[in-house]
């Protein structure tokens, strides 16, 4: 270059026309380009990618194997009501439903009005609806898995109740263990597991262990018995007797009509006669929650008193009384695990979705016209205030009211209690936190000192201590003799705890608002309250939305600590279910995973909401 001409280095004039914009080279775009740039950009990165992929597949695979093959999800289906509302009076649950539906409607309308309804939301809702409709329907095509129960002279032998439809074929078999010892390792199906007959499960586990170890004395398990299929009136439809000579017997029976049936077993009086299993094929299990039982009674009539004089005497082909044992294929999984759960939630979930869509339709419609939009906005604000305040009274009820009798908060539980505690605490802690922050940054020394001390003391004490203090101290502030709800005491504790943390978060936000903003608002003649409300707080709060939401998510999860006053919110009720009821022992993982998922869904929804607020609305553009 230097040799050719010196002048060309010193002078350059671009052509009058700028060169056209070109696309980037192919290797840096597209899927391959992305893989190369992000997953295999260097040897270290490639190794990390491969190691992580193996770890994910291994962990995910183990988890899915457990979840789809070994887990017993009936604990959730059976206890759904407890998990949702705790021991809220079953006859008053319509009040919870009402509050939930009104809230969902307002949510739908508010979100649609503020943000519109995007296609992803509609697609998600459609997929949920289709899954809810398809899976239970297709699962009913799958033959129900066998149901087994252990019979010994020493155990009770109450009738085993089930429901069936006209034309349905039921197969009953007596399975003495000597014939099935070889097959027992591959045993699968429902095993009877009632609290009263917990022994049958333990016995079966012992037996299986002995079979596997080949130490089982088969001669002890040679019970001969009589099995009788009866209808609701107690009329025998079919019968089979196993004898020491022919211990495995089977019969098929076609049910004559829709209704209740039972299987009776007659065993010899000899208590040392051994044991046998009765196997029942072609019968569907059912859940025993209130709604499902009511539906069953409506369809098949009340539980026949001829077979079941007192309810304690009955065993039922119900999920509460049965436990799925052994490996499953995917079809059986859907039929025995997922479908009953979906059936249990289909009505509430579809109703909820319908209400949300109705609200969203209203919101989307109003969005199009500015005047209607303004009217709806005003109406929604009023509706939210009325709903938030009214819900408390609807849920709690009034002394001496026939329509809304009192349901004390001590019986509230599950998700209901979790949400009430969270929402009430958020509603009170937010303004309190903002006031504390403003107080702490105030020029008035006394106010500032009081706020600072309050904040620092609360922040310096463990949350659980504050809840204890709330439990003990709140009554003194109101009236030493008044019996203040435990739930209210907990709300007070949670509110002041959260407010103290929020105050620090908000103070951080106040500090990042430049001094010039206050000066400009002063120069315009705004008074101090206007400066704070119109200029400083909107900017300060917007800056700390993620931190505020963080606090609210933490609050939501910390509601589980109210167990210390004997309230059973979502997490507490799970402990109550899996440790308090014998038939659900050992299903801890399933139950905790389920509530974990609920916690996650709600926390994630809160996180999405905060991201949305950050992204949209006034002042998104930075200064």
């Amino acid at each position: 270059m230097q040799q050719t001409t010196g002048n060309s280095d010193l002078f350059y004039v671009a052509p009058q026309e700028a060169p056209p914009a070109r696309r980037p080279p192919a290797l840096s775009v597209g899927a391959l380009g992305w893989l190369r740039d992000n997953l295999f950009s260097s040897p270290t990165n490639s190794i990390l990618t491969i190691v992580m992929a193996i770890a994910i597949v291994w962990a995910g695979g183990s988890f899915l194997t457990w979840a789809f093959r070994d887990a017993e999800w009936s604990v959730i289906t059976t206890n759904l009501r407890l998990m949702m509302v705790g021991q809220y009076n079953p006859s008053e649950i319509w009040r919870v439903n009402l509050v939930a539906l009104v809230t969902l409607f307002l949510c739908g309308a508010s979100v649609a009005l503020a943000a519109g309804v995007g296609r992803p939301v509609l697609v998600t809702l459609a997929v949920v609806i289709i899954l809810l409709l398809i899976i239970p329907a297709s699962a009913s095509q799958v033959a129900p898995p066998p149901i087994r129960y252990l019979v010994t002279p020493a155990l009770e032998s109450n009738p085993m109740l089930f429901t069936g439809e006209a034309g349905q074929t039921v197969t009953v078999a007596v399975e003495p263990l000597d014939d099935n010892a070889a097959a027992a390792a591959g045993f699968s199906g429902y095993l009877e597991n009632t609290a009263g007959l917990q022994n049958s499960r333990n016995a079966w586990n012992d037996i299986r262990a002995q079979i596997n170890a080949e130490t089982l004395d088969l001669s002890e398990y040679d019970l001969a018995l009589t099995v009788t299929l009866v209808d609701a009136e107690g009329t025998a439809l079919a019968e089979a007797t196993s004898t020491p000579g022919a211990r495995a017997v089977t019969f098929d029976a076609t049910l004559p009509a829709d209704g209740w049936y039972a299987l009776l077993t007659t065993v010899p009086d000899d208590p040392t006669a051994g044991a046998a299993f009765v196997r029942l094929d072609g019968v569907h299990t059912f859940t025993t929650d209130t709604g499902s039982v009511a539906e069953r009674v409506g369809r098949y009539g009340p539980i026949p008193s001829a077979l079941c004089p007192t309810s304690g005497d009955c065993r039922q082909v119900a999920e509460r009384d049965l436990r799925y044992e052994g490996a499953r294929d995917l079809g059986t999984y859907f039929a025995t695990q997922l479908a009953p759960f979906l059936e249990a939630i289909i009505v509430p979930v579809l109703t909820g979705i319908a209400v949300i869509i109705a609200g969203a339709a209203l919101g989307s419609f109003a969005r199009r016209s500015p005047t209607f939009r303004k009217q709806l906005l005003r109406a929604l604000m009023v509706a939210w205030v009325v709903t938030l305040i009214g819900s408390w009274f609807v849920l709690r009820g009034f002394e001496g009211s026939d329509l809304l009798p009192v349901v004390p908060t001590s019986v509230w539980g599950g998700l209901l209690l979790t949400m009430v505690l969270t929402i009430v605490s958020i509603l009170f802690s937010f303004p309190l936190g903002v006031l504390l922050a403003l107080g702490r940054t105030s020029d008035l020394p006394i106010l500032s000192a009081v706020c600072t001390i309050f904040i620092e003391v609360i922040r310096g004490v463990p949350f659980i201590t504050i809840l204890f203090f709330a439990k003990l101290i709140v009554p003194f502030f109101i009236s030493a003799t008044a019996d203040i709800d435990q739930a209210i005491r907990m709300m007070v504790g949670m509110t002041i705890f959260t407010a103290a943390y929020l105050a620090e978060v908000v103070r951080g936000g106040l500090q990042i608002v430049p001094k010039g903003q206050v000066e400009a608002s002063k120069a315009l003649g705004l008074n101090p309250i206007q400066q704070t409300n119109l200029i400083v707080l909107p900017q300060a709060l917007r800056a700390v939305i993620p931190a505020i939401m963080n606090q609210f998510v933490a609050l939501f999860k910390d509601t589980s600590l109210v167990a210390i006053v004997g309230l059973f919110e979502l997490l507490g009720i799970v402990d109550f279910i899996v440790n308090g009821q014998q038939q659900f022992r050992g299903l801890t993982r399933e139950a905790y995973l389920f509530v974990g998922i609920i916690y996650f869904i709600i926390s994630y929804a809160m996180s999405l909401a905060s991201q949305w607020v950050e992204r949209t609305g006034a002042g998104t553009a930075s200064r």
């Binding site: 000066e519 002063k522 120069a523 315009l524 900017q539 006034a618 200064r623």
Partner: protein, 256 residues
């Protein structure tokens, strides 16, 4: 707003009066015995090296800073700790800052209507009409719905001027309004200020734009180390400054 009266004639009553004003930041004596009178429709440009107290002086005039000694009276009202007086004066005095200080969470239109609605109690519709007229006057009516962060520096400063004018102030204070701007944008802001001066607005303006001072100012004030060194008409000030410090200053800035 008002017909152009020509900036060199028709000066009215005294509207800003400073009498032996002293101010300290801690131990630092930032304003020393400042005495000054500004008349209606007068344009006063304050120049001086940084740290000379010129910004502090005009910030004292609408009480963004408090003076500790002496007396400042604006439109006949003395500035004291009485909040009522301060608010009354701030309503009459508009201010434009070096860093614009627009409200980033409000649209341009809301920036201009906010104080009208909350301080002047104008209905929203009227406030928006005023705002649109002013945006027209500063030349950016098409930006009304945008947020400050979406505008260039020059546009932001013009919005800031419109925001101050929306309160119908009798006096406008400018605190280095073009110092934070790119050279290409300085002119658009100075044009607006020039037009404002010609319309008869009383203005006090801290600036380093000597061309603007020479062309628009009725009087130029030169400050150094917290005191007023020299006051004069632009002709006198730029051609034959009396004080040695002024001569040094002018020679420094005119040399580059």
């Amino acid at each position: 707003m008002a017909e152009a009266t020509g900036s060199n004639g028709h000066l009215g009553e005294v509207i800003i009066e400073c009498d032996s004003v002293n101010k300290w930041f801690g131990d630092f004596h930032v304003l020393k015995d400042i005495s000054l009178k500004v008349r209606e429709r007068e344009v006063v440009v304050v120049i001086g090296p940084s740290g000379s107290g010129k910004s502090t002086l005009i910030r004292c005039i609408n009480r963004l800073e408090e003076h500790q000694e002496g007396k400042i009276a604006v439109d006949g009202v003395e500035l004291t700790n009485d909040t009522k007086n301060i608010n009354a004066i701030r309503r009459e005095v508009g201010m434009v800052f070096q860093s614009f200080n627009l409200f980033p969470h409000l649209s341009v239109l809301d920036n201009i209507t906010l104080a009208q609605r909350h301080v002047r109690r104008r209905p929203r519709k009227e406030a928006e009409e005023v705002a649109m007229q002013l945006l027209d006057r500063v030349g950016i009516p098409e930006q009304a719905r945008k947020y400050p962060g979406q505008l260039s520096g020059g546009q932001q400063q013009r919005v800031a001027i419109a925001r101050a004018l929306a309160m119908n102030p009798k006096i406008m204070l400018f605190d280095e309004p073009t110092s934070a701007l790119d050279p290409e944008m300085i002119k658009e802001v100075l044009d607006v200020m020039r037009e404002l001066a010609h319309s008869g607005m009383t203005m006090m303006c801290v600036t380093h734009e000597m061309g603007f001072a020479r062309e628009v100012a009725d009087r130029v004030i030169f400050m150094d180390s917290g005191r007023i060194v020299e006051i004069g008409t632009p002709e006198h000030f730029f051609s034959s400054p009396s004080h040695e410090r002024t001569q040094l200053f002018l020679s420094q800035i005119l040399k580059h």
